[in-house]
Amino acid sequence: MTIQELAALVEANIVTASVDTGREVECGYTCDLLSWVMANGSEGMAWITVQTHMNVIAVATLHDMSCVIIPEGIKVEDDVIGKADEEGVAILTTSLGAYEICGRMNAKGIPAK
């Protein structure tokens, strides 16, 4: 599934402007502890987190993740979106909760890593 298709699935807006939304999403993960994600992240991952500060982008970039999904309508600051665009990591925002997002991704066959 591509980032574009994933965005439609979880009713998300893609807030990054220049990231390739045709990139494949390989797996899904949800966690808000950054060290935990550093230990368990992987390439092509779609990571769901309520954290929205700059280091989320650093963690996603270091793992070459496909995208970060911010749930529950949480706003992402412009400088963080700018950094994500610069690093090539898509940011998706949705009003759905993390549990619902995971459920929809799982039902469509997106595996855990």
Binding site: L33, L34, M38, M54, L62
Partner: protein, 151 residues
């Protein structure tokens, strides 16, 4: 592969630029054509070291040394030092403040993640002086048997 040395100064409690040195180091290694799995392990360990310098130290630096057969990453700070390294190495143990935890840091995984991802991990610390961590990553991705030493 030619010898290369790069140094990155890390500022205490600067969460805006935290992670940038790790990203730059990753880019350097990718450009040099280092094995992708080694780059990945080193990036994780490097980020943990960088975040530890930001959260726990009074400032420090990361030094990257790329040799023929191995990449060495050194994290050095100017204090405050770790009173009990064995305790600090235990997963889940953290002295991070509540504010830092709210940002998703301070899970107590940092040192353990570094040791797990490096082929060789060595940490030395003295209270009042500082902490020095040396991590070695074999370029051929053949992981050494003896992974960690604590002194």
């Amino acid at each position: 592969m030619s010898q290369l040395r790069e140094e990155f100064q890390i500022t205490a409690m600067d969460f805006v630029t935290a992670g940038e040195a790790s990203s730059r180091i990753k880019r350097i290694l990718k450009k040099l054509g280092v094995n992708a799995n080694v780059v990945r392990r080193l990036s994780i360990a490097c980020y943990e070291a960088e975040i530890n310098l930001v959260i726990h130290s009074m400032g420090g630096k990361l030094v990257l040394l790329v040799g023929e057969n191995e990449v060495t990453l050194i994290s050095e700070d100017v204090g405050p030092g770790i009173p009990d390294i064995r305790l600090a190495m235990s997963e889940g143990y953290s002295t991070a403040s509540e504010n830092v935890r709210m940002m998703g840091f301070g899970a107590g995984m940092g040192l353990a993640n570094m040791a797990r991802n490096a082929d060789r991990f060595h940490i030395q610390s003295k209270v009042g002086e500082g902490t020095r961590i040396e991590m070695i990553f074999m370029i051929k991705d053949s992981r050494a048997e003896d992974k960690s030493e604590v002194s």
